[in-house]
Amino acid sequence: MNEKSHLELNLSLSSGVSGLDEILEGPRWGEAIIFHFTNPREYSSFLNPILPSLAKEGIQTHAFQLQGIGSTLTPDTEKCHCHNFHQQISHPERLSAQVCQLIRLEPPRSFFLFDDLEAIEKLPGYEQRVVELLRQVVAEIGRKQSAAYIPLSRGFLPSAEMAQVKDLIPVFVETWSLDEEVHFQILQASGRYSERLFQRYKIDRDSIKMFSVADSKQYAGALEQRTRESLELYTQKVHVESDLQRRVFELSLMNEITRSLLSTMDLEEILHRILIGVTAKEGLGFNRAFLLLVNETEQVLEGKMAIGPSNLDEALRIWGALDGRKLSISELAALGKEWQRQDAQVNKLARGIRIPLEDRAHLLIELLRLRQPEIIRPDFPSHLQSQSVLHLFEVDQVAAVPLLSRKKSLGLLLADNRITQKPIAEEELKHLETFANYAASAIEQARLHEEVRRRISENERHIRELEAMQDRLIHSKRLSTLGELASKMAHEVRTPLVSIGGFANALLKKKSNDSEDCEYLKIIVNEVRRLERIISDVLTYVSPGIPRKRIVDFRRLVDEVVMMFCLPLKEKQIDVSIRSDDSPLCRADPDQMKQVLTAIINNAIESMPECGKLAVHLGCQQSFLRISVSDTGIGIPEDKMGRLFDAFFTTKSTGSGLGLNIASQIVANHKGSIYVESKLGEGSTFYINLPLTSC
């Protein structure tokens, strides 16, 4: 049956390509031929010739369209029936079922022309589905004794699936094209044994020619040319890639800068990152980078920071460590910090730069003024001073770019290749300018930020002050109400106290000194005195009187006050010494001054255990009278010193906590000053200075 069909086929079926039938012994009924192609033209060179010959033989021809209208692989629709399976490209099973059904429904010995299967969507697992489709089609063709041309583009199926396809397909033709020529080689054809079968051929104007030695040479030459071209393309690609890499780096730097401007990253960090960008291989790849900024207050251009290795050894070590590692900017920045410490040399160099802005002859100042990026070379046209700059950096070339912000020069970004000595290209200067712009905007932003923060804190301070003022107002209002009450009470209490204390004192005088009653009476007297002092403090605090000044003999005043304390002084066996320079006279309110001295001396006595020493010294010093009161008491702890003169502050269990506050107020009203020196465990000295003249 097979033999018979073969004979028939030989008589009736032609490929249409002259010479191919001879080689292939003709396509046979029941066979599908796969064309493994790269360029669709290769398939067309087989497809187009067969159509007229099929038409001539009156063989029914069907075309399966997958790519939709306009597919180059779709034959002339007038010569065959077209079936559109465009909708099924995402369902290979459905496609397979419909195609097979069509093959089955058509009479035997029909010819089926397939469209490029690559139109099938590459959904997961598509490979096996395509193989399955081919298996079913091949089986159906065989069963129906029809024939089919199936194109399969190279690379559509992985090699494992290609092997399966080769196993199940009767005829497998490998095609490829070089320029305008189409070449082919029949890799397998079941039941044919011609030697010519497996040679390489080319299709030359619809006829087949064998692939000659000359062809081989030409082919090799073309291949070489192609390789060269692709190599060139590759170089270009690498170039573009590195450019792209730099751009990416630049963009991520920009992104980082933008983000950091919104975050709390400080200016130093941003500038450091920009310098990293200038020196990193992924960035501009300079050896060293320096940042000089204008200091407005001191009117100088000064070195702010720098990075880069100081010698070849260090450079090799660092670059070696970085080689082949892809690091992000923050990783690089962290690394940069690591070697910034070792970088002392560049930083020393940078920080040593300090050029007055008025030094207009200086090249760097001029560049700052010109606002032009420049590469400073020994032959720098406009300036003799390029030498000194180059000498400073110990290089032949330095790229210098101004940091511009709204037409103002904030500073300069400098970069050089001290280690590699690589000349600086104009293009690199342009890239450096981009980085300088980032730096400038970062600085500008940071300054704005700082300004805004300053304003905010100023406002906050104002608000706090207002609040404090309000608090004080409320407080003073409350105090004045409270004060009225206190004043009324204090006055009312004062009169009975006079009776109690006075009579106790009278009784005391009658008693002999050692009697028990005498002790009790003393207690009454002392306690009444204390109450009176508290009352007097409270009253003064509530409504301090206007000082009524007259000439006061402070020696007499001190004597009087000390006299008031004769009882406790005697009891505690405190030694009192009063020293004064001649005529310690000063204009003051005697009553108020008495109150000051009372508070201070009372304080001194209370701070001393038994057998202390109280020393009062009065002396005129230049323009003021100084009164010092020293005790050998317990002293004042340092943390209490600051609050000593605050109202209601007291370390004692007794007392109003007002005495020293009132004293300081009175002294202040006299335009004088009061302060204290104290040593814990050794004693304290209070100093009162009263102006001698202006009072």
Binding site: H491, R494, T495, P496, L497, V498, S499, I500, G501, G502, F503, A504, N505, A506, V525, V528, R529, E532, S536, L539, T540, S543, G545, I546, R548, M563, M564, D591
Partner: protein, 122 residues
């Protein structure tokens, strides 16, 4: 012997001052109101008047003014629980201003000072 008139509405205080000043060697008379004091002053000569300010009916200030009206007014000490009257210029007419205290030494010192001064001028 110097004669002193003490004016105060507090009887306890009068008792105290009378006793203490007598011990100092003065002849002491007491009045418990301004009106009473003026009555005394009408007929008796005093070397010193010690006058309280806050009193019912006629207060110390009024009494002070009345006393001062007389051409032969004696020296005067204002003895009060209030220190604020010091700012009233009328009180400046007094020879001394003493804030009441259980410690009578200030009052006594001022008393003896003024008496000494007035006996000198006399």
């Amino acid at each position: 012997m110097k004669r002193i008139l003490v004016v105060d509405d507090e009887r306890n205080l009068l008792k105290l001052y009378e006793k203490e000043l007598r011990e100092e060697g003065y002849e002491v008379l007491t009045a418990s109101s301004g009106r009473e004091a003026l009555g005394f002053l009408d007929g008796i000569a005093f070397d010193l008047v010690i006058l309280d300010i806050r009193m019912p009916e006629m207060d110390g200030m009024e009494t002070l003014r009345r006393i001062m009206e007389s051409p032969s007014s004696p020296p005067l000490i204002l003895n009060t629980a209030y220190s604020m009257y010091k700012d009233d210029f009328l009180t400046w007419a007094a020879d001394a201003y003493v804030v009441k205290s259980s410690d009578l030494s200030e009052l006594k010192t001022k008393t003896s000072e003024i008496l000494k001064r007035s006996s000198k001028t006399a």
